[in-house]
């Protein structure tokens, strides 16, 4: 198995999305495992600001040279910012999945939903077993 990186401050969906709360704002993206499985990302289709999603709704689509995959919302909320840098530089998802490769910032609807997600330790264990 490859040597994957995990962000200890983030929480994870079993479909490999992460979310991190920064000053009350939820920042989300896809994990290092996801970007590795996808291989080179060539396009990210992000929703418009103001759109609302429920937890596990399809919120974005990420396309690589191998495949196109749905990306699911780790928590419910309203989109307040999309990472415009991904439009010109989708490779940021591969280079820095937890940093510059972030997808969206959201206003969380219900922070208790975070309890449904895996923490980094549980996700790492999940990846070791499943991937």
């Amino acid at each position: 198995m490859a040597n994957y990186k995990f962000d200890a401050k983030a929480k994870y969906l079993d479909t490999h999305e992460w979310v991190r709360i920064e000053d009350g704002v939820a920042v989300m993206g896809v994990s290092d495992v996801a970007q590795d499985q996808l291989s080179d990302v060539v396009y990210v289709d992000l929703p418009a600001e103001g759109d609302s999603f429920k937890q596990k709704d399809t919120i974005a689509v990420v396309e690589s040279v191998k495949s196109a995959e749905d990306v699911f919302a780790p928590i419910s909320g309203k989109v307040i910012a999309a990472n415009e840098a991904l439009e010109g530089s989708p490779e940021l998802v591969n280079q820095d999945p937890y940093g510059a490769g972030w997808f969206l910032k959201m206003e969380p609807a219900d922070l208790s939903e975070l309890d449904n997600l895996m923490d980094a330790e549980a996700y790492e264990k999940f990846v070791a077993e499943e991937v």
Binding site: S39, D40, Y43, V65, K66, S67, A68, P90, E91
Partner: protein, 485 residues
């Protein structure tokens, strides 16, 4: 200027005033197009006929086709197209007719369409066929619209979901979405079948139906297909059969007998008409009696007692027209020819040999490459993985590129997604044992190279007109290079 016909764009060969065609004298009075419809800015290349021919012939010589070599592209059934198909399609009575001609002047063409409807009905067990849809996904779309209209017609307006297994072609959920319905995914079980527990959990009275490809896209015949059909029917849903893999079962199992209500046929896969860039496709749709009124029209009906035997018929509650005129007629001629040449016995042997050939390669490779469902017999294709034991940083892409050096078109890779680093091999029925052996030996050799000299794979292909192309850059930075000067 150099006359590099193959590496030039057609605009590079253009010289003002050159003309490639001479129009025949007009047999109707000439009249000028109204000024408003004339464009002065339309840049068209100006080349002589011979330059045009050389440009495209040389390009075609760089192309790899099933006429030039083995083409084991899984899930696509890229089978050899017998040349007699084209001979029939070029017969003047088929090639030189117009879709606006009156019925009584195209009875031969309509007889052929009727005969093809009958043949497809016999092969699938369905009661009625529409030849209208012009490709596989178009047939799917038509089929989903039929299911939707059937449910609405009987007042089941709450139904808005279609169940699709995770092994399905991406076109299944796409056809669902285009029909205004919601796709619900069900996973596969450990043996590659639909997970029955997950299916049961997804079934309720909001289900329009389920789309199932059988054999599925890992090349396995679902061991519970009749049970799946029963389950879906038990909640009032319909079963859609994706005919993509009909080549494995024609003459052996009829989809209607298994419990399906509607399916599409890929004439360009199963019935040897040109596929992909080779020409237009055709995706006829077949249905049971209950769904017949909803078929896209027109279809061909027959009344022997009347002066004109074959008629265009509109099904009573048709979803409407899905294609201009009458489908891709030239493709229908080719498929009818193929079916007629083989007959019932020949179609059965076709399916048997397609399955035998795939199992032969699976048996030769399964101790070298991981084959996730290798304990089962496959159908017309199987899925292996490029995760070779004892290698590092090696991807299926590298194996595929290396195959080019051995003179083979690489199989489908990275589909289906349920197998990591998948490579999907479908040899089809026409290949000799010698070809199957040569391909298998190349795959085995590549597996050895992967351990001993992985760089050979990473930098492949070495013997193609161009080396490894930068697919990432190509996808990220689109540049249209063929522009008029």
């Amino acid at each position: 200027m150099t006359l590099d016909y193959a590496n030039s764009y057609i605009y590079d060969l253009s010289e003002p005033g050159r003309i490639g065609v001479s129009l025949p004298p007009t047999d109707v009075p000439e009249s000028d197009l109204p000024q408003g419809y004339l464009r002065t800015t339309l840049p068209l290349p100006e080349v002589a006929e011979v330059e045009l021919v050389r440009h495209y012939v040389r390009l075609s010589q760089k192309n790899y086709s099933v006429d030039s070599g083995f083409y084991p592209l899984g899930s696509c059934t890229m089978k050899y197209n017998p040349k007699v198909n084209d001979q029939a399609a070029h017969l003047i009575g088929f090639a030189r007719i117009h879709p606006l001609q009156p019925e009584e002047t195209v009875q031969g063409a309509m007889a052929l369409m009727y005969g093809l409807q009958q043949a497809l009905a016999e092969i699938s067990g369905f009661d009625a066929i529409s030849l209208q849809p012009s490709a596989g996904a178009h047939g799917e779309f038509s089929g989903v619209l039929i299911m939707r209209k059937y449910q609405l017609d009987r007042g089941e307006t709450q139904r808005n979901k279609i169940i699709v297994p995770d092994s399905a072609h991406g076109t299944n959920p796409a056809s669902t979405a285009m029909s205004g319905l919601k796709a619900v995914t069900v996973p596969s079980d450990d043996r590659g079948n639909v997970d029955l527990e997950a299916l049961r959990a997804a079934l309720d009275d909001t289900v329009v139906g389920m789309m199932l490809t059988n054999p599925n896209t890992v090349g396995l015949f679902d061991e519970h297909v009749t049970e799946i059909c029963d389950l879906v029917h038990s909640v009032g849903g319909l079963m859609y059969g994706d005919g993509a893999n009909l080549n494995a079962v024609m003459g052996i199992a009829k989809m209607a007998d298994l419990g399906f209500d509607v399916m599409h046929f890929n004439l360009h896969k199963t019935f040897s008409t040109p596929h992909g860039g080779g020409g237009p496709g055709s995706g006829p749709v077949g249905v049971t009696k209950a769904l017949e009124p909803f078929l896209p029209g027109p279809i061909v009906g027959r009344e022997e007692t009347e002066e004109v035997e074959y008629h265009w018929v509109w099904p009573a509650k048709s979803i409407g027209r899905v294609k201009s005129f009458f489908g891709n007629f030239g493709v229908l001629v080719r498929a009818y020819t193929y079916i007629s040449m083989l007959g019932a016995e020949g179609l059965l042997r076709t399916a048997e040999n397609a399955v035998l050939n795939a199992n032969y390669i699976q048996a030769r490779l399964k101790n070298v490459y991981p084959v996730p469902f290798g304990d089962r017999f496959c159908m017309h294709e199987f899925v292996a993985s490029g995760l070779l034991p004892g290698t590092k940083d090696l991807h299926t892409l590298d194996i595929a590129k290396r195959l080019i050096d051995y003179g083979f078109h690489p199989p489908t890779i990275y589909f289906p997604g349920i197998v990591h680093e998948s490579i999907m091999i479908e040899p089809t029925e026409t290949e000799s044992k010698a070809t199957l052996d040569a391909f298998s030996e190349a795959m085995i050799k590549i597996a050895q190279e992967a351990k001993e000299n992985p760089e050979l794979l990473h930098s492949a292909p070495h013997k193609a007109p161009v080396g490894r192309l930068d697919e990432v850059l190509a996808a990220r930075r689109l540049e249209l290079t063929s522009l008029p000067k």
